[in-house]
């Protein structure tokens, strides 16, 4: 699977993550889903957990973003968050709390010299399961 992201959407996502330091930042990405996905709109959300090791979007922002995605006939194509001190790879918590099949989980690591963004699908037999298998997604920023 591939996720194409316009440069300006990508830049906004990275900036939001950097501005959220030292805590994790998060948000949603709308676009066209189904097979290879194309991002078109970003929703920068507040991390209600205000934590360097956990994220949970604030309810009002999350609901408004989901409503906007529906209103504009978009699909939710990605959920992003930052890792402030670890690699851009799903943590056990990320896997356990992933409940959006087919939606790319974008992780932006800020632990290195520069931001490192990677995408994953977290495939589960049942979306409510704790356990899942991680599948890498190709990101194309242009």
């Amino acid at each position: 699977m591939k996720l194409s992201i316009p440069q300006d959407v990508y830049d906004q996502m990275i900036k939001h993550c950097q501005e959220g330091m030292p805590n994790e930042a998060c948000g949603l990405v709308g676009g066209a889903g189904g097979g290879d996905a194309v991002a078109s709109k970003i929703y920068l959300l507040n991390n209600a957990a205000a934590s360097p090791v956990y994220y949970r979007p604030d309810d009002k922002g999350l609901l408004a973003a989901m409503n906007d995605i529906d209103t504009n006939e978009l699909d939710l194509v990605a959920i992003f968050h930052s890792h402030v001190a670890s690699h851009a790879f799903p943590s056990p918590t990320d896997v356990r709390e992933a409940h959006y099949p087919g939606v790319v989980y974008l992780i932006i690591s800020l632990a290195g010299l520069g931001p490192d963004a990677r995408g994953f699908l977290i495939n589960k037999k049942d979306w409510r399961d704790d356990a899942g298998e991680i599948e890498s997604v190709e990101l194309v920023v242009s």
Binding site: A49, V53, I79, T93, E97, R128
Partner: protein, 94 residues
């Protein structure tokens, strides 16, 4: 005269279980009554959101007018005409 009822927003993940619609108009009552009525009509929807004991699945969040029902009266929260109820799978991680 405008007919007003409770608007129930269905997340993309569950739309296939309710005929593909984004939202349903449902009568007022408790959240439990409202969701069980939808589940009676669409059994697969019910098995997705409820545990066997009748509680909401822990990864299913329900909001009434943007407030998490867990911080209201849970499934006993009363919703009235004009209210908006939204179901969302949890978004979180670490």
């Amino acid at each position: 005269m405008t007919l007003v009822s409770v608007e129930l927003k269905i997340p993309a993940l569950l739309r296939s279980h309710v005929g593909g619609v984004k939202q349903l108009e449902v009568p007022e009552g408790s959240l439990r009554e409202l969701l069980e009525a939808v589940a009676a009509e669409h059994p697969a929807f019910g098995t997705q959101i409820f545990e066997e004991e009748g509680a909401l699945h822990r990864f299913v969040n329900v909001y009434v007018n943007d407030e998490d029902a867990r911080y209201l009266d849970g499934l006993e929260t009363q919703v009235v005409d004009g209210d908006v109820v939204a179901i969302l799978p949890a978004v979180a991680g670490g």
